[in-house]
Amino acid sequence: MKIFVTALSVLMIIATPVATQASPDNDLKAFRSYYHKKFPEVPMNDFVNGVYAIDKASRGQWESFEEFPSYEIFVDKGEALFNKKFANGKSFADCFPNYKKGVRQNYPHFDKASGKVVTLEGDINKCLTDNGEEAYGWQKGKISYVSAYLAYLSRGNKLNIKVPNDPKAITAYNLGKKHFYAKRGQLNMSCADCHYHYAGSKIRADILSPALGHPTGFPVYRNKWAGDSKGSDGMGTLHRRYGGCNKQVRAKPFKPQSDEYRALEYFHTYMSNGLEVNGPSQRK
């Protein structure tokens, strides 16, 4: 009997850490402490500034950009779209009743009824289709303007992403986590290779940004996107950037708002919980 009890307690000791280690909460703690050790001089909330939190040389240039940022035009455009009445007399305000206080900090969230992760862009387009309007494209243009306006109103709110104890939520979280750490593409690189293990190192002439704080600044105005030949105006959503990242390691990107990218956004944003929303922002 005594042996049995001892064996049981040993089993329990082995079993408990394994079960808790995989929990999102513990992932978050490990993620944070890694960046804290890697960049001890960077205050936690400064990670929202991406690479400019860790690179003094480009920070000055970026700060002068942010003094009079190019995305202001698009925040105004987003506001106009947001307030425009739909054909049925409703507007976005009916779908986002708390928009003035800010809604960005609660996205993405897990929706119990559908068992899926819901993103801000998903809800913007859902609002349009529910009201008989045509949905926007997912990556740039109008969707990024409305998203930018909502992010702008949410500035300063702390990200509050919840992973409820629901098997489907955990599955989505784990899918995103797997995407983040899994190697992909011809270059055989994972998100984590660049933005976790090698954050702060150089990749050609650029410095790799830490993954912590990435999602707070989206949607973004990228100088690169502003100059592309396809007539893009510089604004883009998080999923547009994910696609670009995947292409850069020569992997076939997933579709924006696919299960894979929504799961990645879920994991990625959860890791930045407690950081302040500062979107939209300007990036290289």
Partner: protein, 104 residues
């Protein structure tokens, strides 16, 4: 094109720093519409002016090489806080806009 100019003007020890962001397509006239193959007609700002208390301090001639939604920043001396500046532009199609702002 109303409200196309955003201005921020600051004065420090007699020198004003004016920053403006103009929202304008700045079409060069060389791009083609992807679907129809037709050329997109040129539309770009040709002239930008800035008046300080009614006196011209900047007059710029632009062409199609200037980017979409252009950002313009310049400094001039002899300004103090509270002064009025007026920024205006005219494009090749004759469209124009102007705005007034107070120097902070």
């Amino acid at each position: 094109m109303a409200n196309s100019i955003k201005v921020r003007a600051k004065a420090e020890s007699g020198v004003a720093t004016i920053k403006c962001l103009i929202s304008h397509p700045m079409e060069t006239g060389l791009r083609k519409d992807k679907k129809t193959g037709d050329k997109i007609p040129a539309q770009f700002i040709q002239e930008v002016n800035c008046d300080h208390n009614g006196k011209s301090v900047l007059s710029a001639q632009w062409g199609p090489a200037v980017s979409k939604n252009p950002f313009l920043s310049f400094k001039f001396s002899g300004a103090k806080s509270g002064d009025t500046i007026k920024i205006s532009w005219v494009d090749n199609k004759g469209d124009s806009d102007s705005t007034e702002a107070k120097i902070k």
